[in-house]
Symmetry: C2
Subunit: 470 residues, 2 copies
Amino acid sequence: MNSLIEQLKTIAGAPNVLVDGDLTAYEQDWRKRSRGKALAVVRPASTTEVAAIVKACAAAGASIVPQGGNTGLVVGSTPDESGSQVVLSLQRTNAVRSIDAHNLTMTLEAGCILQAAQEAAEREGLLFPLSLAAEGSCTIGGNLSTNAGGTQVVRYGNARELCLGVEVVTAQGEIWNGLSGLRKDNTGYDLRDLFIGSEGTLGVITAATMKLYPLPVASLTAWAAVPTMQDAVELLALAHRHLGAGLTGFEVMGQFPLQLVARHFPQQRVPLYEQSPYCVLLENSDSESEDHARAQFERLLELAMDKGLVSDAVVAENIAQARQLWHIRESIPMAQVEEGLNIKHDISVPVSAIPKFCEVTDALLAREIPNVRLVNFGHLGDGNLHYNVQAPPGVDPAAFLREYEHRVTTLVYDSVRNFGGSISAEHGVGSLKLDKLEDHKSPVALGMMRAIKRALDPQNLMNPGRVLNP
Amino acid sequence: MNSLIEQLKTIAGAPNVLVDGDLTAYEQDWRKRSRGKALAVVRPASTTEVAAIVKACAAAGASIVPQGGNTGLVVGSTPDESGSQVVLSLQRTNAVRSIDAHNLTMTLEAGCILQAAQEAAEREGLLFPLSLAAEGSCTIGGNLSTNAGGTQVVRYGNARELCLGVEVVTAQGEIWNGLSGLRKDNTGYDLRDLFIGSEGTLGVITAATMKLYPLPVASLTAWAAVPTMQDAVELLALAHRHLGAGLTGFEVMGQFPLQLVARHFPQQRVPLYEQSPYCVLLENSDSESEDHARAQFERLLELAMDKGLVSDAVVAENIAQARQLWHIRESIPMAQVEEGLNIKHDISVPVSAIPKFCEVTDALLAREIPNVRLVNFGHLGDGNLHYNVQAPPGVDPAAFLREYEHRVTTLVYDSVRNFGGSISAEHGVGSLKLDKLEDHKSPVALGMMRAIKRALDPQNLMNPGRVLNP
């Protein structure tokens, strides 16, 4: 393996092959669920270097763990404990290669930070709508490998829907230039979407051409108290109908997660939650004017109040207020941390099934764990809930996790299955959900996935042990 | 093979296994480019029957040609001349299985006619936006197998973007229930999008869950004369900016194709074309009101006229006028038929490259063929042109085709390559473009496609000889 390290140094330059010192940032996942040991961390500067590295690793039989910002939530981008895997960090390949305003596209290298991509688009008066909590440190390559979701999916779709073409280094170290600014191209199998969401197990995405949109002229945020989850779903339907594609965000938050924010971040003023089981955050983006957006929003909320779907609501008066409202939503995960360890789920069911799913699963959990506290919030517009479970008051969180994590997760996932849902809506599989996937995915689908993995990566060198067992 | 036919009769019922009589409708493609001979045409009524048929064919080593409405343009759904292939017609599996209004989804069987799907959605006050010329006879299964495009792609994407999940019978005759009303599901490889656009070469799509949208409150159509293709592209950018997602259609038509419509269908009144090299058809769909849509449209057209992008324009006053304008656009292919045989291309390049592509390719063609006549029209919003070539005046069309088809197509496709485009934007590959694909697709991509084909259909039984050679 020393010979491989020497080859990697020749390819990427010695300073870009890390073997000593503190490699925690590369070897440990963001949530600190797992710590591995890499043979080396290599940081190439170009696609050609990536290809040469993959070829060298393949020849040496060393497996490769591609890594972007290492902000994933399912332990998918850190090495195992063998000390034999090469971490391939794409952080140095981070250029915005081009922006084509008339084609509404942008070509980015894999290591480009999401926020840098957003800002590059904005400088051209354009919108790159992918937006999620880790945007300050996650990368486009990671976003695509995990088909990232976030808060704008209700209008713009996941990372997959925003991508027109990819450049990939295959498991054999060949470069496929599938970069394309084409919105229509029916010349064979959809390799692009196969690599997107494959979590680095089929090859390495080194660049991508992404869709852009005109910047909205105005973007308004509203906060509404809704009596029930069913009311929230009906409010969503009403918003789709009245705002059309102007509806760019629709988040739901239960009363308890909002209590947690109010308790742990008292400087934040959380509106309307004390009298309401749920609150909803809506965003309306408009290509016309702020006045128009506001009039539309107010009409929608009045209608919703007439129908009894909304008990009270506020529309942010300015951008600062809008940011405060979004900040409350984004503070829920940190408020959970302050409250103590909890059991996390990232699930989806059809939007129409959300109220019944919550009713049934809430009841099952309450029966299983007296005084259980549900941190239920998420992207209702996409049917995606972060349906998390916090220990009852006064119970030690670590002990709670030890005793209940497996039982609770099994209960929640079984309920998800009963409602035709997914046990990983936007976070992916990684190694954390590998075993669960075997239980929850159709054997026919798993069989096809394995056949594809063997076909494209017969040596099983690309991020082995992620997504599926061989 | 008699034993196979008997098995098929047992599975689907004798009346649904056609071996005698006039099978032209199943054995000949829509454009009459090719006529084959089937061992049998089998018309199953359910997914279970499809699975049993595929298993029986696989056991007998008989290859299968899946077929929907048989309206494809690249000879992808008819049997070869061997008399040994089984045509699997999905026309009888045509139910709308369910519509979920709150989830904005609809689950359809493969044989459901596109127009029937549109109408089923509309009855629930919802929009199924896939729309194309053959919608009265093409099927959802065919639309997905070929990733159909059409006139609403600028807003809603191709068939792929409209699909959330598929049910598939694999090449081994197993049923994969990948139907899903989920907008987020990151549990493994994207098998859905692999089957979509694979033209029946990997398995048979038997049902799909498709996205729906609220019906727009108003939909207005405008017709604008634009001096140059560059102006048309700039008008598109302006329309994106001012109409946002309201822009649901943007078609460009050259002066000559409009002349053909005016000449062969004199009852149609073609506006504004006599003074203008190009005309553009725009559609603005609004979730608010017709007045609002009209005001927005007029503001856009005034702005465009101020900038000199548009020399004159009309907005349809009512639905009848709007239909007349769309009817002109849709009559171009028939007007071409009336004028005589021609050489057809379905190409795409980045929208920003369209003007230069046309300038360069027009000039190359004019040099190659004195007095050549270009029938240039298409979905400019998607960078997709039907860049067709008609014989010079007075030249016999059949003789022209014989002499020029290969040269002209080579010239056009080489130009498409130079501009980073695709030689099949929305029609697919079938057998018609099989050889061209070998020349124009990256060998790395072709290698991965072949590996996937071998992995999922190792016997090469599914629509062999389409999309790619083994």
